[in-house]
């Protein structure tokens, strides 16, 4: 019986293109967009040089060091600035037209004129600060030996054994989201076992198969499809997009599978609890998981931390947060204690979802449908 129901459920689910789209294609597409948008961040590709001008006056022409240093950083492949040497009026005009980020006037201390504050303006200021501070020191000691400048004194030590990687957080959220999109499968399973929800369910209910067995077997099909979809997502992330999950790939896999089961079961209990039309069920499901994702910091990281600081209980009651937290802590901590705590809580949620669904779905009798 199991094989029969399982096989036909697989066929049914596989033909439901909309659910397949949301649970598999959409996360894949999102992952691709993430990668496209983020690929350039952090891979040391240089920013384009900043357009600046320096006012060509007496002070500037007398200040040989400033002149040399400015020319040095404005030439070559790895230059910081595209420098123009102009008169004061021209500099002002260029600034007004937005053609330069700022202009410098060689006074002591050097004056920087900008039209707004911004990243580029800040880089100019930091450069000038550094120049003046170093030249002030160099003058004081009449230094000849500049080799010591620019020697690195800081050494980055990552928090855990895993490489620190800004992209990973995005992909963790994506995996958590994909897990909870699995709730669409759970929703369908309940819709098609509760006789008052759909005609397919009514037909299944009059069959001599035990309802619980039929339901469990169908749920197995849903779990199976969703887990396979998530595996495809993981394979795509690792092999095609080359996302590096570090050495703990096995745990990521385990988390994904538990997450998938949690997602599908979550859909089932929501669908069983709410006895309204499909559209409303989907709306509630999506809204609820969106709110959970939001509180788990999927849209903004800071939300997650303010929740866990101000309302810690909420962060443990939010299944999406448990999932993202499990993935983050894998990446963050050497010890696995936090990870297992999250997984244990998540498993408890799954059990609650299962028993809840069971008590709602069982022994339903209908006078009329």
């Amino acid at each position: 019986m199991f094989v029969h129901i399982f096989r036909y459920r697989l066929k049914c689910l596989f033909k439901d293109k909309v659910t397949i789209f949301w649970t598999m294609i959409f996360p894949l597409v999102l992952a691709t967009f993430f990668q496209l948008a983020l690929a350039n961040i952090g891979n040391n590709e240089r920013f384009s040089p900043i357009e600046v001008a320096v006012v060509n006056d007496e002070n500037y022409n007398n200040n040989q060091i400033f002149k040399t240093v400015l020319n040095e950083v404005s030439t070559g492949e790895e230059r910081i600035f595209n420098l123009q040497t102009v008169t004061l009026e021209n500099a002002a005009r260029l600034l007004q037209d937005g053609e330069i980020a700022g202009y410098m006037v060689a006074e002591t201390p050097v004056r920087l004129v900008v039209s707004k504050s911004g990243l580029r303006q800040n880089i100019i200021k930091i450069f000038l600060d550094r120049f003046m501070q170093t030249s002030s020191a160099a003058m004081a000691v009449r230094a000849q030996d500049f080799d010591s400048i620019g020697k690195e004194v800081l050494e980055e030590v990552s928090i855990s054994k895993a490489e620190p990687n800004i992209h990973l957080n995005y992909f963790y959220s994506l995996i958590a989201m994909a897990c909870f999109y699995g709730s669409l499968f759970g929703l369908r399973e309940v819709m098609e076992i509760q006789a008052d929800n759909s005609s397919i369910a009514a037909r299944i209910n009059i069959a001599p198969t035990h309802k619980l067995k039929a339901f469990i077997y169908s749920m197995c099909a849903s779990f199976f499809i969703h887990i396979v979809e998530l595996l495809i997502l993981l394979i795509y992330l690792i092999l095609v997009l080359k996302v590096d999950f570090g050495a703990r790939i096995g745990y990521v896999l385990l988390t994904t599978i538990i997450g998938s089961i949690a997602g599908v079961s979550f859909g089932a209990i929501v669908s069983a609890l709410i006895k309204k039309k499909e559209g409303l069920k989907i709306a509630i499901l999506i809204t609820f998981s969106m709110v959970c994702s939001f509180l788990a910091g999927m849209m903004m990281h800071s939300i997650k931390y303010s929740v866990s600081e101000n309302v810690p209980i909420l962060s443990y009651l939010n299944p999406v947060n448990l999932l993202t937290d499990a993935l983050y802590s894998l990446h963050f901590f050497d010890s696995l204690s936090r990870y297992w705590l999250n997984m244990a809580l998540l498993t408890m949620f799954i059990l609650v979802f299962w028993f809840g669904t069971y008590f709602i779905v069982r022994r339903r009798k209908y006078a009329s449908i």
């Binding site: 937005g98 050097v110 230094a143 004194v153 849209m299 963050f332």
Partner: protein, 388 residues
């Protein structure tokens, strides 16, 4: 105007659903905008917000104390326990975003001219930690300079000289242009974000309208009515435009309301103009989607891909400066790219003559070109599908 009236009726019936979209997208826009503009302010400000750091040192002495003094300009010190677990915890919950560890014997080895290192641990997504990096590097750069050039310099003397040098800073002056007194970063982010949220509402809303008309029987009934097809189409488009305009008005209105004190500038005018043109673009895109896709379920799939995709690659969620050139080249085939580009340029302007606005106008013209092109394709598709 029967068709027009019918469209308005359908829209009216759908108002509750549409309002949900508008409210959700507005909420997301406002939240995201305020968080993004704060983040960029942090990035852009000349006086950085102080970072919370953990300063762990195995030794004390003038050199280390001097570093601490210099760092206090850019950082707040947070006391945490000295073991890995506690440090990981503190970083994980963002009690600190940066940790420095100075090993025992550092001063001695540094003063001896050895190449010693300080260990740092950061969480990747914090901008302000760059300022801590710079401070530490500057401090030791100058210390080394004195060390190599002045023989037998005492530690105290070295530190006091370094700190004195470090107190010299650039005078930053804002060029006085009355036009740009207001802060445009909020508007810039909001209007960029609008390309995602407005497109979402337009595609969702208009497709709900078009699905009704794509019903085979209704289509046939309309085809045999005494009103000519072109008139039906014109009224239909008019209704769509009305809907788009109301949506645009609400969404732009909210931005101005939330950001009123910074809105009375010429920049706002161009932001609004740019978004209006983008709205027209969005209308023809929705019209195209509405005619090409007639299945309600497929619509929401297409809608999500079409609104999210360009937003990612053309700089709505991630600033254009940070996206690689090749991706941007792909993005330039979408109107969103030109819309965002124009917005960013408007935000950077200090005066608004024709010369300065030239490239903004060309971006706007390109968007109009997209609108016309998509509309033309939509008409072809509609003709092909008429009796299919």
């Amino acid at each position: 105007m029967q068709v027009f009236k019918l469209c308005l009726k359908i829209i009216k019936d759908n108002i509750p659903t549409l309002m949900i979209y508008v409210v959700v997208f507005l909420g997301v826009s406002i939240l995201a905008t305020s968080s993004m503009s704060n983040e960029s302010k942090e990035m852009a400000s000349f006086t950085p917000t102080k970072t919370d750091i953990a300063f762990i040192s195995d030794e004390t002495g003038p050199l280390v104390d001097g570093l601490k003094e210099e760092l206090s300009k850019v950082a707040n010190f947070v006391e945490i326990e000295r073991d890995t677990e506690a440090l990981q915890d503190a970083l994980y919950f963002r009690r600190v975003t940066y940790a420095l560890y100075i090993p025992n014997g550092f001063t001695e080895r540094f003063m001896g001219g050895e190449d010693v290192k300080i260990q740092k641990t950061t969480i990747p997504e914090s901008y302000s930690s760059a300022y801590v990096d710079i401070s530490v590097e500057k401090y030791f750069d100058l210390a080394r300079l004195y060390l190599t050039n002045v023989e037998n310099i005492a530690e105290e003397e070295l530190v006091s000289k370094v700190l004195k040098d470090l107190s010299v800073t650039t005078n930053v002056e804002l060029y006085d242009t009355r036009a740009n007194k207001a802060d445009t970063s909020y508007a810039n982010f909001y209007f960029n974000y609008l390309s995602y949220s407005m497109l979402g509402v337009l595609v969702m809303g208009m497709s709900a309208l078009m699905v009704v008309f794509s019903d085979k029987d209704i289509k046939r009934r309309n085809a045999c009515s005494p009103i000519s097809t072109s008139r039906i189409n014109m009224q239909f488009i008019l209704a769509n435009l009305t809907f788009a305009m109301v949506t645009w008005f609400i969404m732009v209105g909210f931005c101005i309301m939330f950001n009123f004190k910074n809105s009375l500038t010429p920049a706002t005018l161009y932001f609004v103009l740019n978004s209006f043109i983008f709205m027209i673009c969005g209308t023809s895109l929705s019209y195209l989607i509405g005619t090409a896709v007639t299945n309600q379920e497929a619509l929401s799939a297409v809608c999500n891909v079409v609104t999210l995709g360009p937003s990612f690659i053309s700089g709505v969620f991630v600033p254009q400066e940070l996206i690689s050139q090749s991706v941007l080249r792909i993005a330039s085939f979408t109107p969103s790219y030109w819309y965002v580009k124009a917005n960013n340029e408007i935000a950077g302007l200090t005066s608004f003559g024709f010369e300065q606005l030239e490239s903004v106008f060309s971006s706007i013209l390109i968007q109009l070109g997209f609108a016309v092109a998509m509309f033309a394709v939509a008409l072809v598709v509609a003709k092909r599908k008429r009796y299919a």
